[in-house]
């Protein structure tokens, strides 16, 4: 008995220990960074970062300018969203920038960045950005880091597949995520379930002039699918443009199911040189469309908004050699072209593989009419004929691919939360690095151009959770910087970002920093309400409109005592900053302003509208700490009752203006 009990207690102990062992969770892999990471991202005080990182802000409608490798934010640049901090979208000069055919739209969802290129390489002239909600493209001047122009895109909804550019920035494209009915009101007022019959997509080719001015050259009318992302061909594939499209099922409800039915959707290859020829030959059809074109003039510091009335269209089904479809598995998202222009990488959001197409093979297939059928009258190239090969088992949920210029591709994997490095020609996976968490876009400086600058890779993540100190339910988005100069990717830095970054680009600082504008020359200021000398500062009444011409210079406004304003007046403060020294902006703010303050750069003029509603003395002051006597930079305005006979009177230090 003693022996039995000994055995049985041994068995029980064994089972207990085994359970204990299996019942313990395995350790999760922690985040690892390399030992000397700090020194690699350290930019000593007074020194500059190596790259400007131009980062989309997603739902904040802004761009953030970040230095790399430090990850330091250098500027928040308002594009599609109003910015009360400097008066963008509130000042009379900047309000027209946000004008659209729907009126003033003060916000948007900014997803993608394209920095201008020449011969496929960064030239540092402009950055383009898209508005996803109310379709628009913005152009940012990289000498002033300001929104210089916004063009609305008509016949479009959900401008997601934008603003990708051709090799020499000939065109910037805008294609529709949402297909919609177009034309006159009666043609647009249709049942939603008539999607297949009435809904169309468009791809707009926006011509970029030598001075950057944008103009829609033509629109391609396409079947009603969803365009997702795009890249222009380069080098040997220059003249072609590749667009990923999903929802070829043409679903209009519960897309997560109904648009995921087909095993393959398409990458649409567009021969835009051919489209150019057709337009030149007069094949374009002029159709009515209403859209705004807004442009900033740096001489007057004013934005003008013009409403345009028509656009040229080509229906792609009318031309047999304009567009070809390449089957691509699992609702392709990213559609990226390698630096040589030979390889086109399609990333199926739900795929567990990455197909890579060959431009040479695609051309052979097209020339040999190697088609597997048609989609809505468009030729569909045989999948295998265009395929260079497949990256097997890269991870789950490939989204975007960038290149280092050394024959390697880097793909972001949303579902498996990692970056996967692979060889473009052999298609072998070379390395993988976890991201924290669920990376969306990734970015290598110049990684989408013909000449990547390599060195770093930044992952822009969609989920942050525990990466930083918690700040309540709403968290910033995280980004991770990797060193990609060696064989293995090394995590160097984890940093918070502004808004929700989608795509970003980075450009060597040397291509931009010397061109950066420091001041606007006051003698070049052609603003109709500019005052170039304190002697010309004045107050003028025209009916109930009162124009106050103010000058600001350290540390006073001229005039700073103003009387004769009445309740019900429409007051315009035209403030000219007379400074001609770098980094001496002045601000202007007045009590009760229901719009914003404004910041005026040296040599510029800005106008703030003010509607005084109550009698009293109103203080105004400078909001940008300008000097040791900044707190003295202030003035008073007397507001009298409506119908009062207090005359217009203004002075500085007792000296009355005439």
């Amino acid at each position: 008995m003693k022996k039995n009990s000994l055995i049985s207690s041994g068995v029980i102990a064994f089972i207990f220990l085994a359970l204990l062992q299996m019942g313990c969770r395995p350790k999760s892999p922690g985040s690892v960074s390399v030992g000397d990471a700090a020194s690699k991202v350290y930019v000593p005080p007074g020194e500059h970062d190596e790259f400007y990182n131009i980062v989309s802000g997603g739902f904040n409608g802004q761009i953030s300018v970040v230095g790399l490798p430090s990850g330091r934010v250098l500027k928040i640049l308002p594009v599609f969203s109003v910015f009360p901090e400097n008066g963008y979208g509130y000042s009379e000069e900047s309000k027209p920038m946000l004008n659209t055919s729907h009126g003033f739209v003060p916000w948007d969802d900014l997803h993608h960045i394209a920095i201008s290129t020449t011969k496929g390489e960064h030239d540092g002239r402009w950055a383009f950005a898209n508005a996803n909600n109310t379709p628009r493209i913005a152009r940012i001047d990289l000498t002033t880091f300001e929104t210089a122009e916004i063009l609305e895109i008509p016949n479009s909804a959900g401008n997601h597949s934008s603003p990708f550019i051709t090799e020499n920035t000939e065109y910037v494209v805008a294609s529709t995520r949402f297909s919609v009915p177009m034309g006159e009101d009666a043609q647009r007022d249709v049942p939603i379930n008539s999607y297949k019959e009435n809904f169309k997509g468009t791809i707009s080719f926006v011509k970029v002039g030598d001075d950057g001015t944008m103009d829609i050259a033509f629109q391609l009318v396409t079947p009603g699918v969803n365009f997702d992302l795009a890249r222009a061909g380069k080098g040997k594939s220059h003249g072609w443009f590749f667009f990923s499209c999903y929802n070829t099922e043409q679903a209009y409800s519960l897309l997560e199911v109904n648009a995921s039915q087909k095993d393959k959707d398409f990458i649409m290859a567009v021969n835009w040189k051919k489209a150019e020829e057709y337009i030149k030959a007069g094949k374009g059809k002029k159709v009515k469309a209403k859209y705004a074109h807004n442009k900033l003039d740096h001489k007057t510091h004013m934005t003008t908004s013009t409403i345009k009335e028509d656009v040229l269209q080509l229906d792609i089904r009318d031309f047999e050699d304009l567009v070809y479809l390449i089957p691509c598995p699992k609702s392709p998202h990213g559609c990226d072209v390698d630096p040589t222009g030979e390889y086109i990488v399609g990333s199926g959001k739900l795929a567990a593989m990455i197909p890579v197409f060959s431009f040479t093979k695609l051309m052979t297939a097209i020339n040999g009419s190697d088609f597997e059928g048609e989609y809505d009258g468009l030729p569909v190239v045989k999948y295998e004929s265009a395929l260079h090969g497949i990256v097997e088992k890269p991870g789950l949920g490939p989204l975007h691919t960038e290149f280092d210029g050394r024959g390697n591709a880097y793909t972001s994997m949303f579902v498996s939360s990692e970056i996967v490095k692979w060889d473009i020609s052999t298609l072998q996976v070379l390395d993988r690095a976890p991201t924290y968490y669920s990376v969306g876009h990734l970015m290598i400086p110049g990684g989408c151009t013909a000449k990547p600058h390599g060195k770093y890779l930044v992952a822009y993540n969609k989920i942050t959770k525990d990466r930083y100190l918690p700040t309540g339910p709403e968290l910033c988005h995280s980004a991770q910087l990797f060193d990609i100069s060696g064989d293995k990717m090394k995590l160097l830095l984890d940093f918070p970002t502004i808004g929700e970054p989608h795509y970003a680009e980075a450009i060597p600082a040397s291509l931009i920093k010397e061109k950066s504008v420091k001041i606007y020359k006051i003698e070049d200021n052609m603003h109709p309400h500019a005052v170039k000398s304190a002697a010309d500062a004045r107050v003028v009444r025209e009916g109930n409109v009162v124009r106050i011409y103010l000058t600001s210079i350290r540390s006073h406004f001229s005039p700073d005592n103003i009387e004769g304003i009445k309740v019900g007046d429409e007051v315009y403060f035209h403030v000219t900053n007379m400074e001609q020294d770098w980094d001496v902006p002045h601000g202007f703010a007045i009590k009760g302003a229901d719009n914003a303050e404004t910041l005026i750069m040296p040599g510029a003029t800005q106008t703030l509208k003010w509607l005084p509603k109550r009698v009293g003395i109103y203080p105004f002051y400078c909001t940008d700490f300008c000097s040791a006597l900044h707190q003295e930079m202030q003035g008073y305005i007397r507001v009298s009752p409506k119908g009062s006979n207090v005359p217009i009177k203004y002075s500085l230090d007792g000296e009355e203006g005439k």
Binding site: R554, Q580, D581, E632
Partner: protein, 203 residues
């Protein structure tokens, strides 16, 4: 012997020609450094104008009640180009004419004009630094802001440096050439003995 040696005449010729450059370059400069101005602010003084970061300097100096610098505040600018022009023309004539007494007069006038220029500049800078607006925002008892004539000086949060600009260096070389010319005249005999090979130039 009242004739200048050929070497002296050459030197006076070169000296006069060098002075022409003064019409195209600043002569003197005042540079200012402060923590906020790591790139230095600079003001240049020409024969007939002031240039550089004048507006910025004026903007800063108004806090301590200094006058606004502008070309119009210097009546000297109306005279100096004529003096320099006169020196150049007479110098050129002198190099052709070659009379020694005239050369002495020319040198004395040249050095005299330069000295007068410095004295005038000093007097201006004294007034600029001392004669302050009593209503100035910042008044530091006993503090004056006269910039240095040459060299550097600390003025509150600024370091001020003054020294020759390109034209100043050229004028210095021109002056030294002229002085050399007349030294040659003084020590002609000795030089002839020492440098027999150059005797033609020293005759």
């Amino acid at each position: 012997m009242t004739k200048l040696t050929p070497l002296s005449r050459w030197l006076i010729l070169i000296s006069s020609l060098l002075l022409i450059i003064l019409f195209f370059t600043p002569i003197w400069q005042i540079d200012l450094w402060a923590p906020q101005y790591p790139e230095w602010l600079s003001m240049q003084i020409w024969l007939y104008q002031v240039s550089g970061d004048i507006n910025t300097i004026n903007g800063l100096n108004h806090y301590i009640g200094m006058k606004h610098i502008q070309t119009e505040m210097f009546p000297e600018f109306g005279i100096m180009p004529y003096i320099a022009g006169g020196m150049i023309v007479t110098g050129l004539l002198l190099s052709i004419w070659g009379r020694k007494p005239a050369a002495w007069i020319w040198l004395i006038v040249l050095v005299g004009a330069a000295t007068a220029g410095f004295i005038d500049f000093y007097l201006w800078s004294y007034d600029y630094g001392h004669n302050l607006d009593p209503k100035a925002a910042i008044i530091v008892p006993g503090m004056v802001y006269q910039p240095p004539l040459l060299g550097s000086k600390e003025l509150l949060n600024f370091v001020a440096y003054a020294g020759p600009a390109v034209g100043g260096w050229i004028a210095l070389v021109a002056g030294l050439l002229a002085v050399t010319a007349l030294l040659i005249e003084l020590f002609k005999k000795k030089l002839q003995q020492k440098f027999t090979s150059m005797s033609a130039l020293l005759k």
